[in-house]
Assembly symmetry: C14
Homo-oligomer: 92 residues x 14
């Protein structure tokens, strides 16, 4: 296998598994926060505003780790510096 | 194996496992949120509207991680830049 | 092994494991939601309509991740672009 | 190994493990739903009809993921497009 | 190894592990349903009929996934289309 | 290794692991059912007959999955169609 | 390695691991049943006879899966049909 | 490696791991039974005789699975039929 | 494979898995902190300010470990000293 | 590698891992029994004698599985029949 | 592969996985401490100062283990003595 | 690799992993016993002597399994009969 | 690969994974101790001094195991006797 | 690879993983004991002396298993009899 092929294959593999593994934690984490928020609203309907606001801040923090994974995955597919270097040098 | 074959195989493998692994977290997470929402509605029927609204926001956030995986999976099958490069250079 | 064989084998393997792995999360998740809904109906029979409606929305969301896996699995068996490319170029 | 053998072997292996892995989630999930339904009936015998109906809808959803796996498994054994292609081209 | 041997070996291996893996989920699942049913009967002896009927429906659904695995296992040993193809072409 | 040896080895390996893996689920499952039945009898001695009857039906269902594994294991050792085919063709 | 050696090695390996793996489930399962029975006797000394009888039936069922593994292990060491075939044909 | 060496090595490896793996289940199981018996005696000192008797029957059943593993381990070291066959044929 | 290729591949692989693995812990951890904070606000609405402040300090600490992983991942893609060394010496 | 070396290596490896793996179960098991006994003594100081006696019987049973592993480990190091056979035949 | 390449690759791989694995423990640990602190503040608002102070000491201790991992990761990328030795001797 | 090297390497590896694996069980086990003893003393300060005595007997039993591992580890490093045999025959 | 390279690589790998794995236990452990201390302070503010003192002793003990790992990691990078030996003999 | 290199590498690897794995159990164990002691002091401040004394004895026992691992790790790095033998015979 030449350099272009190897880098393409490893980029494909890593892009997929990064977002696949990286979605497990945030999905479970957000579910826990949402479930607790729903439970809290049911107990204290008067505090729904404070609870919802805290929930949204928390979801944003948790989602950020999923975003990191998605960003890395997209970089590897569409803006991969190693791939650019490889196809520029493949013709040589 | 030549370059076209390797990239095709790795795209197939990664596309499948990305969505397979990526569906475990969101499925369990959504189930938890839904179960808690149902439980909360049973306890506080008067707050069903607030609970349902919070649930839908949460489900959207959780589903987003599954969507990320599905998007990466579809990109790898139908809009794979590495595959396009490979079949363009395969005849050379 | 030539290109056609490799792509066929990897498509078979991935199609199977995608739906196999992808069914674990939704099956457990739906079970949790259903169990909680049944428990909620037993506690609050008067809210059975609201509970059932929320349950169906939730099941649809959870089932969607299983559908994603099934769709990818079917694409790999019956509408695989890599396979089509391979058998078109196999005779050359 | 020639192409026919490889495809046959991979079809056998994947067909078996798809249904084997795919039966774990639904079996545990259905058990949870059934157990909860039985528990609910014991608590609220008067709601047995509503509970049973919700249970059957839920079991149908959960069983559907097992059916997906069984369908893929049967397709791989008896209606495998890759196998058909292989035995048609084996004599050439 | 020739084609007949490989297919025979893979059929043996897959037939065994399919039923071995496939029996774990149903066995644990049925145990859960039965244990809950026994517990429910002890709490509500008057509803033993409804509980038992729901239990049997549930056991049938859960057992069905074990049956799927057993069917695939038996097909692979006694009605394996790949094996039939192989021994028909072994003499050639 | 010739065909007879390979099939013998794989039959031995699979026969052992099938019953070894296949005994874990039923053993734990039956234990759960029995433990619950004993607990139920201690709570409701008057319903011992109904409980015992339900228990035996459940144990029969759970044991059936162990029996499936044992049957496959015995078939592979004493009535293996692949082995019969192999030793019939070994002398040729 | 010739056929006799391979079959001997695989028989040794499988015989050991079959009983080793196969003893985990029954040991934990019996412990659960015994622990529950002891707990039940402490709660309801008057029902010790019924509890003990149910316990023994359950232990017999659970032990049966360990016996299956032991039987297969002994068959592989002392009554192995593949080994008999091998040593009969080793001198040829 | 000749036959004698291979069989000796595999016997050593399997003898050790059989008893090592086989001691985990019974050790944890007996601990559970003993812990429950101690707890039961503390609750019902008057039933210490019945509890102790049930405990000993249970410990004997659980220990039996450890004994199976120890027996197989000893057979493989000191009464191994494959080893006897091998050293009888090693000089030939 | 030459040095440039190997370093490129290992950088791609490690960059992806570092952020993928590194997002699991913080996502679950932040979810736990957020869920507890929501629960605490529901119990003590008057202390919402103190709780929110403590939550934000904690989220910052937890997010810091995700940031470490993201920093290492970005360094490996865009500011990798080994890659710089390699492409500087690749032409020699 | 000649026979003496292989048997020495495998004996060393197995002797170590047998006692290492074999100490996990008994250590956790004895801890459970001791912890329960201490808890029971604190609840029922008057039954300390009966509890201690039952504890010692139980510890002896649990320790026996650790002893089995230690015995096998010592046999493999100091009284290994395969090693004796090997060094007796090494000079030949 | 020459020495420079190997050391570069292993440094990249280890630097990534060290911080990735090393962030799981501290992230979960800090989350636990923060969650407990929030819960404690909600129960005892008057002790918020003492609780916060103890929390910060604990977070510092827990963060220290993440810092260790980050330090080792940075040393391997930017101040690696083995890499310095290698590039100094690469020209020879 | 010659015999001396192999035995040295395997002794090093096994000595380390034996004590590493063998320390997990006793450490967790002793912690459980100590934690329960502390809890019991807090509940029943008057029985501190009996509790402490039972604790020490239990710790001695649990520590014994760690000692077994340490003994085997030390034997492999400093009194290894296989190593002695190897260096005595290395010069020959 | 020559000796210097191998030792450098293995030192890098082990240094990283030692501190990575070694930080999981202490991080989770310290979190547990801190969480319990915070909870205890909230219950018994008057005993904050005794609790804090016991906590610090405990944290020191737990941190010591992380320190062991960090020390070994630093020794392998900066004071590795095997590396010193290797580079002293590399020129020969 | 010659003998000196192999022994150096294996000593490095084992020294690191021994202390890394060996620190998990004691760290978690000590945390449990400390947490329980803190909880006990909060419940029974009057017994702080007895609790602290029992805690220190327990910590010493638990720490001893970590010490065993650290001792083996240090022996392998600085007082390794196999390494001494190897470098004494390397020049020959």
């Amino acid at each position: 296998m030449d350099m272009v092929t190897i880098i393409a294959v490893s980029s494909i593999v890593v892009a997929g598994f990064t977002i696949a593994l990286g979605s497990i934690g945030p999905a479970l984490g957000e579910a826990r926060a949402v479930a607790q928020a729903i439970s809290a609203i049911a107990q204290q309907p008067d505090e729904a505003n404070t609870i919802t606001r805290t929930l949204f801040v928390g979801l944003a923090m948790i989602e950020s780790t999923a975003i990191y994974c998605f960003v890395v995955s997209m970089i590897l597919i569409f803006a991969n510096p190693f791939w650019n270097y490889a196809i520029n040098h493949a013709g040589k």
